[in-house]
Every structure is written in C-alpha cells, then in structure tokens.
Amino acid sequence: MPSLSGPLSDPAADAGWEQPQPRKGFFTDTSVCIGCKACEVACKEWNGVPEDGLNLLGSSYDNTGSLSASTWRHVAFIEQARTPASNTVSLGMPSTVKPGESMSPESATEFRWLMSSDVCKHCTHAGCLDVCPTGSLFRTEFGTVVVQDDICNGCGYCVPACPFGVIDRRIGEQGQKNVGIAQKCTLCYDRLGAGNQPACAQACPTESIQFGDLDELRERAAARVEALHAQGVSEARLYGESSDDGVGGSGAFFLLLDQPEVYGLPPDPVVPTRDLPQLWRHAALAAAGMLAGAVAAFVGRGGRR
C-alpha cells in the first residue's frame, strides 16, 4: 500500500519503480520573472497544446487566465501599490505625475508588479493520480505525474481532486486532439527521457524557471531566499518546498513575494486522499447502518403489515 500523505523520500520508488531516477522538478523564482510569457509559448509549441481563447481579460497583462487543459504554464500578473519602505533610495525613475507637479510624500506610492509562472506542482501525494480510476495518470520514474492520453476516458474525477486547480478536461470539438481527456503539464516527459530540460525552462530568459534534481533545487532555493532576505526583501518565501505540507511537498515549487493566494495559489493545499481512510470508515458504517435499517424495517412490528 503506497503512502497517502506526509513526507516521502522517493515517490517514484513508492510507486513501484525498481530503478527510479533522481526526482526532477521546477524551482520557479518569481522574483526574477519579467512576465515575457516565453514559457507559455514554448510549452504550447513543444507539446502541441491548442489555442484556448484569445481574450482580453482585464487583469493586467494576464490574458491567459489560469492553468487549464490547454494551458500548462500560466503567467500571473499582479499590480500592487505600496507605500515605499523607508530604507529604499529614489532612483529618479519616471513617475505618473504631470510635468511640473511634484508628488507629496504623503501621496507617494511605489508600484510593484508581481509576475509568476504557474505550473502543475507534480505533488508528492497527487490528488489527481490517487483518484484516477483508469490508471491513466501515473507516477514516472522521475517522480513526476503524467496523463496517458490513450487510456484516459475523460471521467473528470481528477479535475475536482487537484487541490491547486491545475488539471482539466479539454473542451473542443469531438475528434480534435485529446478533446474530452484530462490534460496537464507532463514536465516534458518526452524531453526528460532524452536528457533535455522542459521547454519552458529552456525558453525562460531570466532563469526564473529552473529545472533540475529536486534536492539540488531545494538547496538553490534556500540560498536564494537567504540572499533576498539579506537584501531587505523580507517578504520572499518559498511555496510548496516543504515536504511537511498537505501534499507532501511539490515537485514544482516557487519563490513568492506575497501570500500564495495573491497569486491564486491555495495557502494550505491538502491532498484529499489524506482523509480517505476515515472517509471509507464512515461510508462503511453508513452502509452497515442502511442494511441494518432495512432488516429492521422487515422484522420490526412483527411481520405482515
């Protein structure tokens, strides 16, 4: 019986791989993301993911919206007005004040743009994988979670199971590629097999998206947070890195500059299966109660009425 929650040293071995590879993952350092969306484009191009709406959403430069069956990388844009911290130095940057007018210290605001490229977390305990009734979703030798397109029958159970709202069933005309089937990031399983890095990481011009062995990425991330804290960026924090969280840690984790929910990420994601043993006990008790109730309905009041 594979483990259902908590820290797990090697998910691939836990899933039965006899010769697992080192666990691979992403460290997305949002502090250096410039919002170029090269990751979104590279992902679509490499994986042949179809267009899923050319819309203006009115949410800063984010016209993608969210991760979906046909969006496996999604760059979030958050515009924040903040009071300048006292220890910052004015660089004389262009302001939004009319020429000739000066900004009073009281009204002075500093503008901050948060950008973050979101992706499937490739959880240690993956809700989508746990609930898949066909075995289409599986744990690869790299510890990642991948859908087998030729097996998925589109039951849709993985969609509400994911605590991050990543996986979805592809919508479109029946007959088009993988319509009706659950789709998400594969961490470029095909490229990994050939010794390459995922398309998004390769396309990222600022190394905001870093790919590698998870152990090494975690060390790199810890050092980066320390460096940012030393520079006075006290709000820098890691998200999804700890194996003590509700999904046993993520294969794809992030350095964020605000609370997770600001980026549309759940602050305390929990794999639903963590509580499934208790749920099965309640379901069994309820079933036993129903059987007992039916028996009582027939034997009660002594016979034929």
Binding site: S59, S66, I78, Q80, A81, R82, A85, G127, V131, P133, T134, G135, S136, I151, C152, N153, C155, G156, Y157, V159, P160, A161, C162, G165, V166, D168, R169, S242, D244, D245, G246, V247, D258, Q259, P260, E261, V262, Y263, G264, L265, P266, P267, P269, T273, Q278, L279, H282, A283, A287, M290, L291, G293, A294, A296, A297, F298, G300, R301, R304, R305
Partner: protein, 355 residues
C-alpha cells in the same frame, strides 16, 4: 471603482497584508454579515484572491452525476426492499423493488457512460482496482451489483409472461426465475455500498463544500437512498404490503435530515453554498419535501392516497438533496472564498504551517 477602493481601505485596518502596504490583488472578499454596525466587535473575515478567480476547479460533471447519485441510491434501497419482500412473502413489493432497481441502475449506467469525455473508453475503468479512488471502488461495486440486480429485475419482467415467449427461450427464463431469489439477496447485500460510496466519491475531492461534509455525507446519502426507495415502495405497493417501505422511508428521511443538520453545523463557512443560490434553493426544497414525506408516511398506513403523495414527496426530496449537494459543491469550487478562507484560518489557528 471608487467605492470598491473605499471598502478596501476600510478593510485595511483589519487585514495585516494591507496594513503592511501591499494593496490587494484583484478582489478582496468578505464573509458574513455586511457591515451594518461599524462598531461590531468581531471583524469580518477577509481573504485575498487572484482577480476573484477560482483556486480549485469545479468538476466538469453535469446533471448526469447528481441524477446518478439519486438513481443509484434508489436502486440500492429498492434492491433491499425487493429482497426483504421476497423473503417475507410480499409479492407486489418484491416485484416493485426488483423492477425499480433494474430500471434505476440501467439509467444510472447510461448516465455514467454519457458523462465521460470519451464514452467509448468506458471499459478502461476495469483496467485497475484502486482503493484510493472512490470511482474505481464504485466501478467494482457496480460491477458486482449490476448483474445481480439485473437478474432479479429481469426475472420479474420475464417469468410472468414465460408462456407467451417462444419455446426456445422458455428454459432460460425458467432458470432465471430460479436464480432471481439468490440474485436478489446478493444484490441487496451489495446495495448499501452502492448507496454510500458515492459520498466518498464527492467528499474525496478538493471541492470545499463536498470535502468539508465528509464525516456526515455518507449518512445523508444512505438516508436519502432509503427515503427514496421507501417512497417508491409506498407509491407502487398496496398499503397492506408496504409496511417495510414505510418504515424504511421514515427511518431514511429522519437519518437524512439529522445527518444533514449535523453536517452543516460542522462545516463552517463552506456550509454557505448549501443556503445560497441554486444549491440553497434545492436544499430548502429537499428538507421540506423530505419532512413532508416523513410525516405523510405515518398516515400512509391508512390511506393509499397519503401513501402515494408522501412517497412522491420523498422521491422528489431525494432528487433535490442530490442535486442540491452537487450544485452547492460546484458553487463552492467556483468561489475562491471557500478555498482560501478555511485554509487561511487553519494557518492562523496554528493547526498547520501551510505550503
């Protein structure tokens, strides 16, 4: 826009992230009563989201699934009534139970296949057996239950007309008649699992309202199934035979109403969708119809009309329960409030460090 900003400033006093200077990203929502009293002691809960967009995804399921929840429960309860009636010499109730179970489970099967993104690949469900997937467990439960309920139901339909059938099929139909009893009892033994596993199916998700209902939902669902099947038995069988149906209906209705009440009390903010919108309307209808049906079942011993009316009310109540809980869950997934707020509260209470 201005008004929105003013509201945000007002909330800034209560929200540490705003106080620290970070302006809200997208929408900041508020829970509970609108600010009627500016001096109220308990501050409204505040949460942050990304442009008000959902954090988790609502299931892609449509009406097929709540319809199946109802019909699967109805089939399960009907199999129990059919088997019990067979063992205690109630032929009309037996026939009603077995035929209803066959009909309900057949439509259920069609709904389940229709709901798939790739219906032709339905059989892929049988590739694996996974205890971590309530849908996989349910598939195997139905694989056991379906043929047994089918045999018992088919026997009820074919045996009475055996003499009008072509000679060549009469022996297999007579065999069917002999198998019907054991098959019906077998179906009845599996039936409670059919009625209760669907609660695990919904609760084992990240859909806030379903997930938070996990302790009581199995009892709500078996109660609803018993009430529906009892109601159908009252509707179809004569008063003289329908005693067990009345008792099953009353017990089921009381269990459903009680478990539902306990469920809502334990769910915190995620109970809200059970009171609002389409889900709320359906749940109110469900409670009214189920209570009415339960009360009517007490009179159903004397009046065939009372039996039929309360039976129909219980059936309708069960439909409303299933669609109500389904819709409330879908609504809870679409609103980031129900995902973010309980999680943020868990962190603030120190129960978890979060991710």
């Amino acid at each position: 826009m201005t008004e929105h900003r003013a509201e945000l400033h007002a909330e800034g006093r209560l929200d540490p992230s705003v106080r620290n200077g970070a302006a809200p990203a997208g929408r900041r929502g508020r829970v509970g009563r609108r600010r009627r009293d500016e001096h109220q002691m308990v501050p409204d809960a505040v949460f942050t989201s990304y442009y008000g967009r959902p954090v988790v995804k609502a299931s892609p399921w449509e009406a097929d699934i709540p319809a199946y929840l109802f019909l699967g429960g109805l089939a399960a309860g009907s199999s129990l009534l059919g088997a019990g009636a067979g063992l205690t010499g109630r032929p009309v109730l037996r026939r009603a139970g077995r035929v209803s179970a066959l009909g309900a489970i057949s439509v259920s099967f069609a709904a389940l296949v229709h709901d798939l993104g790739r219906p032709a690949r339905f059989v892929n469900m049988l590739r694996v057996a996974k205890p971590t997937s309530p849908m996989s467990v349910g598939t195997w439960i139905l694989t056991g239950y379906g043929p047994l309920a089918g045999l018992a139901g088919a026997a009820e339909l074919l045996v009475p007309v055996v003499d009008r059938l072509p000679c060549s099929v009469r022996p297999p139909v007579r065999l069917l008649g002999r198998l019907a009893g054991p098959a019906g009892v077998g179906a009845a033994l599996v039936a409670p699992a059919v009625a209760s596993y669907t609660a695990a199916l919904l609760a084992n998700t990240s859909t806030p309202t379903w997930s938070a209902s996990r302790k009581q939902l199995p009892f709500v669902f078996v109660g609803s199934a018993s009430a529906a099947a009892g109601g159908l038995g009252m509707l179809l069988a004569p008063v003289s035979e329908a005693g067990p149906a009345r008792r099953l209906a009353l017990g089921g209705a009381l269990l459903e109403l009680g478990a539902e009440r306990a469920m809502e009390a334990s769910m915190g903010v995620t109970a809200e969708p059970l009171h609002q919108g389409l889900g709320g309307t359906l749940m109110r209808a469900s409670k009214a119809l189920t209570a009415m049906g339960a009360a009517g079942s007490l009179l159903a011993r004397r009046s065939r009309i009372a039996a039929a009316v309360s039976g129909a009310a219980l059936l309708a109540g069960s439909v409303c329960t299933r669609f109500g809980i389904f819709e409330a869950g879908q609504a809870s997934a679409r609103d980031p409030k129900y995902t973010v707020l309980p999680q943020r509260q868990r962190i603030e209470r120190g129960e978890t460090a979060g991710a």
